[in-house]
Symmetry: C2
Subunit: 460 residues, 2 copies
Amino acid sequence: MGQDGSPAHKRPSGSGGGLPTTTVANGGGRGGGGGRGGLLPRGRQMQKTFNNIKITILCGFVTILVLRGTIGVGNLGSASADAVNQNIIEETNRILAEIRSDSDPTDLDEPQEGDMNPNATYVLGPKITDWDSQRKVWLNQNPEFPSTVNGRARILLLTGSPPKPCDNPIGDHYLLKSVKNKIDYCRLHGIEIVYNMAHLDKELAGYWAKLPMIRRLMLSHPEVEWIWWMDSDALFTDILFQIPLARYEKHNLVIHGYPDLLFDQKSWIALNTGSFLLRNCQWSLDLLDAWAPMGPKGPIRDEAGKVLTAYLKGRPAFEADDQSALIYLLLSQKDTWMEKVFVENQYYLHGFWEGLVDRYEEMVEKYHPGLGDERWPFVTHFVGCKPCGSYADYAVERCLKSMERAFNFADNQVLKLYGFGHRGLLSPKIKRIRNETVTPLEFVDKFDIRRTQVETKPQN
Amino acid sequence: MGQDGSPAHKRPSGSGGGLPTTTVANGGGRGGGGGRGGLLPRGRQMQKTFNNIKITILCGFVTILVLRGTIGVGNLGSASADAVNQNIIEETNRILAEIRSDSDPTDLDEPQEGDMNPNATYVLGPKITDWDSQRKVWLNQNPEFPSTVNGRARILLLTGSPPKPCDNPIGDHYLLKSVKNKIDYCRLHGIEIVYNMAHLDKELAGYWAKLPMIRRLMLSHPEVEWIWWMDSDALFTDILFQIPLARYEKHNLVIHGYPDLLFDQKSWIALNTGSFLLRNCQWSLDLLDAWAPMGPKGPIRDEAGKVLTAYLKGRPAFEADDQSALIYLLLSQKDTWMEKVFVENQYYLHGFWEGLVDRYEEMVEKYHPGLGDERWPFVTHFVGCKPCGSYADYAVERCLKSMERAFNFADNQVLKLYGFGHRGLLSPKIKRIRNETVTPLEFVDKFDIRRTQVETKPQN
């Protein structure tokens, strides 16, 4: 909810496309576990970018040699250190170019990558119709792999990023911090993580890549009750809060959104696919099958994009993204699906970052972890920041600093058990928040989150 | 073991210092969870490096404008895309510089950072003498947090990296891949991960940072039986292999090394602290207390380095590192410690990468996962590669490609359950290795590692 009570204006998840700009070629965004969609073929765009970077660095090197006589040696540091630095940078770029171009000589049997035939119907895999009973039989036969652990249904968190280095170097650093953040939350809550860095299906690249991976995990992990997809640009910011699974006993899809935006306004941001739970069951396999057809890249995805833009309020013109496609599916086949869909907004299963990141200090002052809502958001989601790509919808500085703040805000909650906290929300340095003791276990009893776990009730 | 039967020449772990060079200023290496040691103050070296990079990019920009008239517009791409790219790169660098300089205005209460008084004795914390009984009592009172799970002692894997972006951009990308690799192994073996990105003790930065963190985790997680430290430049390459804990029932420290190198030659690489297990008990707290005093940075660490160089065979001259200090401690106080130390070399708890990475294809052809030794190494450790830093001991290209191969070699073992594999060990692309089916559970029964887990016996 926005600060004035109305739903905050939300863009789709960071793995979706942002508002198109003249340079939307790379604006397709960093897909969680997928490649980037775009108007130019990705290879050509990358090649151009690399040519630019290589020429820039070579020219810079030449220019340094020329300028040294003018500016003086002192300001530029020692020649050998410069040369070594340059050498390493050039060599790294050359290797990066090689890795990115993926010139593996054993790639001889790779079929020619073309767009899918627009007249063929895309399928995620062979149609399974009895998954509920297959799964039930397997669980009975494998009691050492129950679908509930310590009274809670087993959850597997799926996230990921593309297999190649980010265009923007800082992107990999924030992907690293993001996965550490997820490791911390999941360790405290007994949730397994799968970090996907592979494209299971070249047709469904970019933000669509989550669909085949979710399906694959369901079928490979019958012991898992819920698959929780989470974007790599979404951070946990309430380390204590637990998903209130009891609310969803009769539902199969839990997704953050607003019913009025969905049903009344048909808004393209009525739901957010940056963080949602899908139950491991036949219904979900059917949903994925119905959801996927707009995804195959090329003419199918482009044409589908036009349909979605025409149908959904506020949607700019760009190729079909998974979020818009899901909204369209749930609206156009409302009777088929909506009974089992829980549109959740009592807590921030997805929390749009802009209205949250400046209030962390105020939250610490007034509230406490475990609330999960606007008082202490469960998830802060950096929609549109795209630190991995070249083109963001928001100012780079604002994004990076905000992500740093969110990360440290969460990290403070984790470090509390160990007696430390960050010096400030922008500081990587930590300080002691309590003295060392020869009886450390009293603090374990007091601060270990797993021991103080309560089922939090949503507000209202 | 090396290929010719003699122990392979091993440098200390990647988080330790490598052979010193004239530019050893940044050669202190990337500490796991610590900062970088070095001869120049880190801030000044960073500042110089940033000045160099900023000037390079500015000059390159000017040069491009000049050269465009000569080379032609077509080869350089559109002006607006270049300008936007440049803008983003410059802004990112400026923000990086700000984040790195850590100019948080709330840092007012930070004491002046100076070196520790060489005459004072460094302590990790107040002396605890009854940890075994404290822990035992707590475990009795908290049966819901047993120290064994499914018949195996509870292990917590500790790894980490410095809180700031890597000097070399590719470094963060490989840190990300490395943690994904660890997530996969630990998920399959029920091991919890703590990824440390904080300096708990500014005295013990760099490779020493693991000591206070290990101690902190022991005292905060009484339910954990073993803390397993693993460097961020070490990758799991045998996804099936399990640590044979039964071997270590009478031991408290399990570390890879060679007794003859240790006792006969007093070699500085007789043991490797890049991957070792420490039992959560009083003995370990005492070991950490005895180990730490050579660590405090400044004169203490420098002087200790000289002692270590004089005492240990083959050690170059540089500040004290944790590995050399441990070897020195175990040798000079042999009777106190060695009874509880297991020097393991029956499998590659640490496997020096150089003799391993070229043989992966041969391994796939001849052997199978689960062996953990030179036939299928448990851990491949990229000692000396330092992708996060500026100065490596090995050629950048060799290191990056080898790490890529090791990562994909391991990833293939994980993807097998899902029916995929990499197209080649250098390729981020994957291909199906078996067809989809409507009865996927037969493959779960066949390929899920957790279901086929056997206690592997070491060779001999």
